[in-house]
């Protein structure tokens, strides 16, 4: 594991021409949503970026994020990145198995203590550690231990970033996000279920090239990719303005590509790059394929009141609560009403007839 060589040297060793390197920088900049004018700066930064060690820990996850990353549509980038970054530990991808895996993990951590990048996907069960342990070590312990030596942690996917689906109500395993456990390390949340492949590699590339944390929003997500509201960037927004909505998935409106607000689209409350970067090599993205956005890059997106209930549908049954209110109101109302009547009738019963002598204060002669 030669860690001293710079990226530039490594590329040349693999016969990558300067032109190839320029192409790599241009596409990386584009991937990081940086302006093309940044390419020279990226080229310089990449040139002498050190080759970091990367440890990937998987906890309660469905391997969707890994799937997304490995099929990211810039395999050259992926190949390169994997060549460039020394991915020292990844359960699914690494050939080794059994104890060899543990040793590789500990060696990598020991050797690059304080410098390696810790990538995590999947949420961590704190309810009962037994839910997810790897070779006898609970996810919780493994994470805390791995985090000690990490330069920075990247939570890949909504599970690692916010707890994701395991965290959804009723959250049997007590799944929590990485940021709920590790408080002392810089954490980049690359949420999404899964995140857009390009977003994963983009964040890695950005951290790799600039070596520091990208600008993040209040949920710790890189603004480069999560700064824009899906609704604001959606090409169907004009239909929302005009009030033209698809009522069902195959009606006239849907065929005409009208807004999917009424079909449960969570675009307005979701921040991600789907509307611009799109999925499957820029082919399309959920709304463009006729399905509302699920809001998968947001915390608790699974409990946002149903994927097919529009944003304005409350997550509770108002009819039921109203009925409860009515019943209580009726009960208390009848009681209060009866009290009022009693008070009024009592006043009537005790009525002291007013005579002409009772019209003035002070006893009249």
């Amino acid at each position: 594991m030669a860690y001293d060589k710079t990226l530039g040297e490594l590329l040349r060793e693999q016969g990558i021409t300067r032109r190839g390197f320029l192409k790599f920088c241009a596409t990386t900049a584009s991937m990081m949503a940086l302006s093309p004018s940044m390419v020279p700066k990226i080229a310089a930064a990449l040139e002498n970026a050190k080759r970091p060690s990367v440890i990937w820990l998987s906890f309660q996850e469905c391997t969707g994020c890994t799937e997304s990353l490995t099929r990211s549509h810039s395999p050259t980038i992926e190949k390169l990145i994997f060549d460039v970054i020394s991915l020292d530990h990844h359960h699914t991808l690494m050939a080794a198995s059994g104890y060899g895996v543990d040793e590789a993990l500990h060696d990598a951590m020991k050797e690059n203590y304080g410098k390696y990048l810790l990538l995590v996907d999947g949420s961590i069960p704190v309810g009962n550690p037994a839910y997810s342990t790897i070779s006898g070590v609970s996810n919780l312990d493994q994470l805390t231990e791995a985090a000690k030596g990490a330069a920075a942690i990247v939570s890949i996917g909504t599970c690692a970033a916010f707890g994701g689906i395991p965290h959804a109500n009723p959250n049997p395993t007590g799944a929590v996000a990485v940021s709920d456990i590790i408080k002392d390390k810089p954490i980049i949340n690359v949420s999404g279920c899964p995140p857009i492949p390009v977003v994963i590699t983009g964040v890695l590339a950005q951290f790799l090239t600039f070596g520091k944390l990208p600008e993040m929003d209040e949920l710790g997500r890189p603004k480069a990719f999560f700064g824009q509201n899906i609704h604001d960037r959606c090409y169907r927004r004009p239909f929302y303005e005009r009030g033209q909505f698809a009522e069902t998935f195959d009606d006239e409106g849907a065929k005409k590509g009208w807004c999917l607000f009424k079909l449960g689209c969570k675009g307005p409350v979701t921040y991600n790059a789907c509307a611009t970067m799109k999925w499957n090599e820029g082919t399309s993205w959920p709304v463009e394929s006729g399905h509302g956005c699920l809001g998968c890059s947001e915390p608790n997106f699974w409990d946002m009141g149903g994927f097919y209930n529009s944003l304005s549908t409350p997550t509770i049954d108002i009819a039921k609560t109203a009925a409860a209110g009515l019943a209580a109101g009726a009960a208390v109302g009848v009681a209060a009403g009866a009290l009022n009547r009693r008070k009024k009738n009592k006043a009537a019963r005790e009525h002291e007839t007013v005579t002409i002598n009772d019209l003035e204060k002070g006893a009249k002669s």
């Binding site: 929302y240 909505f245 997550t315 109101g329 109302g333 009848v334 009403g337």
Partner: protein
């Protein structure tokens, strides 16, 4: 608490609590009114008065006599503009219709969102004018108590935050939508304990007014 958790709270438990208090309060109000009862009129009546009562419910929306109307033209116009604006914003905006559809089971056609947006601006401006009038007009200053201004704020906030939410003004949409729904929850919770009850009780009052007049043969 993050913006999403806040939004989920107001869309869920927040709205639940508010709707319970609202229905509870209004039921209590209606029962507290009607259980007090009313004596039967033993006089020889010119008519039962029931029909005149309903007629007054309608006629009292409009102006009654020229003199008073000329002196209160301001209140008439701003009152109408603001109430119509409120109605349009609440009942003719697609997201709101979806909300009603979720618990009523049926919906109705909406106005284009841009038109509702324009109406909302007019309503907000009218509300500000109404507040200025309440502060400056001698009668209104004499009459107004704290509750009048609280109710003004309760009505103004949902409209303002709704407008801001629609335009993603200054804050992310998640926060704004949450604040908008919260302001509606507060409005609903305080509704039955302020003069806002007039939205329901004015129909009883107008009916009684027309009923009592009608019995004596005075149609209004």
């Amino acid at each position: 608490m993050t913006s999403v958790e806040f939004l989920q709270w107001v869309r869920g438990p927040g709205l639940a609590i508010a709707s319970i208090i609202f229905v509870f309060g209004m039921t209590l109000k209606v029962l507290e009114i009607f259980m007090l009862g009313r004596k039967k009129n033993l006089a020889e009546l010119r008519s039962s008065g029931v029909k005149e009562g309903f007629r007054t419910i309608i006629t009292r929306f409009g102006a009654v006599d020229r003199f008073t109307t000329r002196r209160t033209m301001f209140t008439h116009i701003t009152g109408w503009v603001f109430h119509v604006g409120l109605f349009v914003a609440i009942f003719l905006l697609t997201p709101h219709i979806e909300l009603f559809k979720s618990f009523l089971g049926f919906g109705w056609p909406a106005l284009p969102t841009a038109i509702v947006d324009f109406v909302t601006v007019i309503t907000l401006i009218t509300l500000l004018i109404i507040l200025f009038h309440r502060i400056t007009n001698p009668v209104l200053r004499y009459l107004s108590v704290g509750e009048d201004y609280v109710v003004w704020v309760l009505t103004f906030l949902p409209m303002l935050t709704g407008y801001m939410a629609y335009h993603h003004l200054f804050f992310p949409y998640t926060w704004l939508l949450g604040i908008h729904i919260l302001s509606v929850c507060i409005l609903m919770a305080l509704f039955p304990f302020t003069k806002l009850t007039h939205a329901v009780t004015l129909f009883f009052s107008r009916w009684y007014n027309g009923y009592m007049g009608g019995q004596k043969g005075v149609k209004q």
